[in-house]
């Protein structure tokens, strides 16, 4: 969830930069929506000027009977020699008038009922919802037919009334649901707490946020109303002497136009209805995509990202050979390394812009290690997690880097170079992922046991059903879920139990690596403690490696062996967890650590960091942290610091920090960090600066 929300937000803010007030206008930029707008516009104009530009009297009889289209009669003539084009032009006015007026009445009704039911709640909601549902379930057309049949056939007024009575229920239902969800939103509660009146909340907070939905419902009702009017007219239930598209079809049917093969008689009217309906639907798609960002995501950036990915896939083949060759050389030296991330870059492709969410990240994960990745929002930590598992979706794309995975037998493979089939076999068998929200990550309609079982089934086709069932129970027992809960659905478990179930799913195939993306953030501390202890216990017992991602530095220090701190898409510090806690080197790490209140020991001064995490689309020049850094000096705005190796104690991971304070003599702007470690003076400099 974390990534999709962030992505959506990113996409949204990219879209609306500049004139946010008219941001919705951009929805019309899409060719499909634009086509719809043009179609609807043309019909509107025709509806207004139709009677004036009609070449003949639509009811005027002439001797030119049943003529196919000709220069005199563009759309041909009827059995009595009436001009069909003129009938169509007059009909446009009536049909559209009925459609629009009926939709106006129905929409007004649905807005009133929907808002009232949703906001007032209680008994009024029960009654209004029941009413709407009753009208929804009663089939509209037969009811309309009956109503229309009882009414005297004086004109369109009765028809408009009849259509609106049967057409309001759907909109009311949608708006009620919307109102209910808006009412629970914080800004409505905030408005109440400020002392706003109910009417003011409804008209200023709830209603403006529903305009798009109301518009969609209105356009849908227009289509429905025009179709219904045509059906009624076709059945002869309206005033058949008033020209509308439906009446044209009625006369065509009554006069057996089919048998005389006079296709021109009925084709234009039907085509007009279909065309207008299509136009309205296309406009509605635009509105839908505006309301539901996920639908928009499917369009925007997708093509660009797909093209880029196709290009990347073509470039993969040669690179793969190279990486295999290189890794075989270094095999002996790094035998306990299981995953090597080299210079990984992940981009978000927007409309005409590329945002680097992960920028040149290199990390090493050893067997049995917990590698903690800390960072705030926008640091790229979740994007990194998704990139490692190759789960990123357009508009995100990996633009550079390697993910070298070392198998038990010592061979190395680049995860980024795998084809789909290899990737499918690799996933879960070697590398599993646990998401932040188990509620969202477990399929709501499958039993817990099934969701563990299907991973096993996919990867171990040889296992019998009985063996698999036994393994599922074993896994549940392992993570501390009572085995009789195997048939439970996700919603039947508590938050902590769901997260345990997620972990059981992750362990199903005994993977070598588990990536955990904020696995405990949604949990309360007490439950978080239980889950974290379970993770550590299982890791010690089963020997897998963990990449643990969270914003909670205190938790990370407690449970990790190595810590990587990310800021604006880069790793800014990398060190043993204990050493990191004793002596954070990067000013950002220091500030972050100093922001956490402690529970034991004497109270220390909490400092915090001024400013806010940067916008990835507008990164400051040089070191991204420089505007917030208390130790920044001139060159910090000019040079992006690489990771400098640092001196000091280390069990395994020699500390590194991406800060110019640790640069040798402070003069070489692009010095390559060496393995030797920076001279000791650097460290003192920091202490003095502090």
């Amino acid at each position: 969830m974390a990534i999709s929300a962030a992505t959506a937000q990113e996409a949204e803010s990219t879209d609306t930069t500049g004139s946010s007030r008219f941001g919705w206008l951009r929805a019309f930029r899409r060719p499909m929506t634009l086509t719809g707008v043009v179609i609807v516009g043309v019909f509107c104009v025709l509806a207004i000027i139709g009677p004036w530009i009609a070449p003949y009297d639509p009811s005027g009889v002439s001797k030119a009977t049943l003529q196919p289209p000709s220069p005199e009669h563009w759309l041909g003539t009827t059995q009595t020699g009436q001009d069909i084009l003129s009938q169509m032009l007059y009909g446009t006015q009536v049909s559209m008038l009925v459609g629009v007026l009926a939709a106006v009445v129905a929409t007004l009704l649905s807005v009133v009922v929907g808002l009232a039911a949703g906001y007032l709640g209680g008994v009024s909601d029960e009654i209004l919802s029941l009413l709407a549902n009753v009208f929804l379930v009663i089939p509209a057309l037969p009811l309309t037919v009956i109503l229309a049949a009882y009414l005297p056939k004086t004109g369109s007024f009765g028809i408009i009334l009849v259509i609106s009575i049967t057409g309001w229920a759907w909109g009311a239902r949608v708006l009620r649901a919307q109102t209910l969800s808006l009412r629970k939103r914080d800004f409505v509660e905030a408005a109440r707490a400020t002392g706003e009146r109910t009417t003011s909340i409804i008209f200023r907070d709830i209603f403006p946020n529903q305009v798009a939905v109301i518009a969609a419902s209105f356009l849908g009702t227009v289509t429905g109303a025009i179709l219904t009017q045509a059906s009624l007219a076709f059945l002869g239930l309206t005033n058949v002497t008033e020209w509308s598209w439906g009446t044209i079809l009625y006369w065509a049917q009554v006069s057996s136009a089919l048998l005389t093969n006079s296709w021109w008689w009925f084709v234009p009217a039907g085509a007009a209805i279909a065309l207008l309906g299509t136009g309205l639907s296309l406009v509605n798609f635009g509105i839908d995509e505006f309301i539901n960002p996920r639908l928009r995501q499917a369009g925007i950036g997708t093509k660009k990202a797909q093209r880029a990915q196709a290009k990347a896939a073509r470039a993969k083949a040669p690179r793969r050979r190279r990486s295999e060759a290189r890794s075989s050389q270094g095999r002996t030296r790094t035998s306990d390394v299981i995953l090597q991330i080299n210079d990984l870059e992940v981009d978000y492709v927007g409309e005409g812009s590329i945002t680097k969410a992960v920028n040149g990240v290199s990390l090493t994960l050893r067997r049995g290690e917990v590698l903690g990745i800390a960072g705030e929002s926008g640091s790229g930590k979740s994007t990194l997690a998704h990139a490692i598992t190759r789960l990123h979706k357009p508009p995100a794309q990996i633009s550079a880097g390697e993910l070298l995975y070392q198998r038990d037998d010592g061979t190395t493979i680049d995860i980024l170079a795998m084809d789909e089939d290899e990737l499918r076999r690799f996933r879960w068998e070697e590398l599993a992922i646990v998401f932040q929200s188990a509620m969202h990550a477990l399929n709501p309609i499958l039993r817990i046991g099934t969701q563990i079982d299907d991973a096993i089934k996919a990867h171990r086709p040889a296992m019998s059903a009985g063996e698999r069932a036994a393994r599922v129970l074993e896994l549940l027992d392992l993570v501390g879920i009572q085995t009789d809960r195997v048939d439970a659905y996700p919603h039947e478990l508590s938050g902590g139990m769901r997260q345990r179930a997620m972990i059981a799913v992750g362990l199903a195939l005994d993977p070598e690596i588990i990536v955990m993306d904020e696995p405990t953030t949604a949990l309360d501390v007490v439950i978080q403690r239980q889950v974290v202890e379970k993770i550590i216990e299982l890791k010690d017992r089963l020997g897998f490696s963990v990449i643990f991602i969270t914003h909670d530095l205190s938790l990370l220090i407690e449970m990790s062996d190595t810590i990587a701190v990310m800021y604006a898409g880069r790793v800014v510090e990398l060190a043993d967890a204990k050493e990191f806690y004793r002596n954070p080197r990067h000013p950002y790490s220091g500030g972050l650590l100093g922001s956490f209140p402690t529970l034991s020991g004497p109270k220390r001064e909490l400092e915090g960091i001024p400013g806010a995490p940067p916008d990835l689309r507008r990164l400051p020049s040089g070191c991204a942290f420089n505007p917030r850094c208390p130790l920044a000096f001139d060159r910090c705005t000019a040079v992006v610091p690489p990771l400098f190796a640092l001196a000091g104690e280390a069990e395994w991971q020699q500390a590194q920090a991406a800060c110019l304070l640790y640069e040798g003599d402070g003069s070489a702007p692009d010095r390559v960090p060496s393995d030797e470690g920076a001279p000791r003076e650097d460290h003192r400099l920091v202490e003095e600066a502090r």
Binding site: L599, S600, L606, G608
Partner: protein, 372 residues
């Protein structure tokens, strides 16, 4: 009453005076039944008999897990829901917020700040419009130009300068920290005597939390406002609030100065909460073993609501709800361990061993009902 530079009249109270007082506040939400009667009459005991006093110029933390009723309690104080039982007093006077006018009078004195800054602003309204609505309610007589000046002043008070840089923006164009400051400005528009801050920083990035908390502290001290800080993070309560009350399953289980509650917790639940919180500075590895999960609030456990999870539970814990025992100066816990008898003494000894605080605590003194 004093007047600020913009001429706003302030609800100022001398520090240390009780401003808002909750007495035996209870809230039960009915469980939605169906027409066939099953489930009818059942209620969620969201807040049960909670008494708490907020003092002028003082920050009181209300700590609890999700579902403990802490947010509901804050909303009860804001009069957003009617009480089931009990009463709320503002400066000694019973609050009656039924009806529009009396409700608005109450909210002009007691203002709520919500957790999610991105959610608490109408996405289609500019900051200026949102603030203007609040100003219009609480400064009915001010002229439009005056109201503009008030908005600029409010933004200046939450350190958002220049105001023009923020007023014409939409919520999505601002960061979480900025928005949370604007929520505070919106609350300030009423010039309240009490702030109820419901998890004001938990959805913000760690590095900017301190800034917002410091702003709240500054406003509390400068304006003599009483502040209720509702949070799940007991460590932040230690740093930010003078007093801390701990809530479990709708009830207060412990209350005292923040330092007492965090450094020498008396109630086994508080101990569990503290030992569960991630804290790399912790020296010892002794943890209170935890069994189980928060209880159902529809059928809460009999006696002490924590007893099914409590490693020190005695027989009476399941039978009778414990009274409050004063365990230290100004600190009380609702726990039978502090009764004055042999069984409780043995429990206290076991608690000292397991929890590793060293000395075995003495029995407490039952607190009479009226005392706070």
């Amino acid at each position: 009453m004093t007047t600020t530079e913009t001429g706003m009249v302030r609800n100022e109270t001398a520090p240390g005076v009780a401003v808002l007082e909750a007495r035996h506040v209870t809230k039960e939400f009915p469980v939605r039944g169906n027409p066939f009667g099953r489930g009818k009459g059942r209620v969620v005991h969201a807040v049960d008999d909670v008494s708490l006093v907020l003092y002028a110029g003082r920050i009181t933390a209300l700590v609890g897990e999700s579902g403990s009723g802490k947010s509901t309690f804050a909303r009860l104080l804001a009069a957003l829901h009617p009480l089931t039982r009990g009463e709320i007093l503002f400066k000694g006077e019973k609050v009656d917020a039924r009806g529009g006018r009396r409700f608005r009078e109450h909210v002009s004195r007691v203002q709520l700040i919500l957790q999610d800054p991105f959610g608490s602003f109408n996405p289609v309204a500019t900051i200026a419009r949102t603030l203007m609505r609040a100003v219009r309610i609480h400064h009915r007589t001010a002229s439009p130009a005056r109201r503009k000046a008030i908005i600029d002043d409010l933004l200046a008070q939450v350190s958002l300068r220049p105001a023009a840089q923020f007023t014409q923006k939409y919520p999505h164009e601002l960061s979480g920290g900025q928005l949370q400051r604007i929520s505070i400005a919106r609350a300030l528009a009423a010039d309240p005597a009490v702030f109820l801050a419901d998890e004001p920083v938990s959805s913000l990035d760690v590095s900017i939390r301190l800034g917002v908390l410091n702003l709240l502290r500054k406003l509390t001290e400068e304006r003599g406002v009483a502040l209720l800080y509702v949070t799940h993070d007991i460590a932040s309560a230690r740093y930010f609030a003078e007093d801390t009350a701990v809530m479990y399953a709708g009830q207060l289980v412990e209350h005292g100065s923040s330092e007492q509650v965090t450094q020498n917790a008396a109630h086994p639940y508080t101990q569990l909460l503290i030992s569960s919180a991630p804290d790399p500075s912790r020296a010892d590895e002794n943890r209170v073993p935890d069994i189980g999960q928060p209880p159902s609030l529809i059928n809460p456990p009999s006696g002490c609501r924590f007893h099914p999870r409590c490693p020190f539970a005695m027989e009476r814990c399941a039978e009778e709800a414990p009274p409050r025992f004063a365990v230290d100066d100004g600190q009380w816990a609702r726990c039978w361990l502090y009764a004055d008898d042999d069984e409780a003494a043995a429990g206290r000894a076991q608690n000292a061993r397991l929890h590793g605080t060293g000395a075995i605590r003495r029995a407490g003194r039952p607190v009479p009902d009226g005392e706070l």
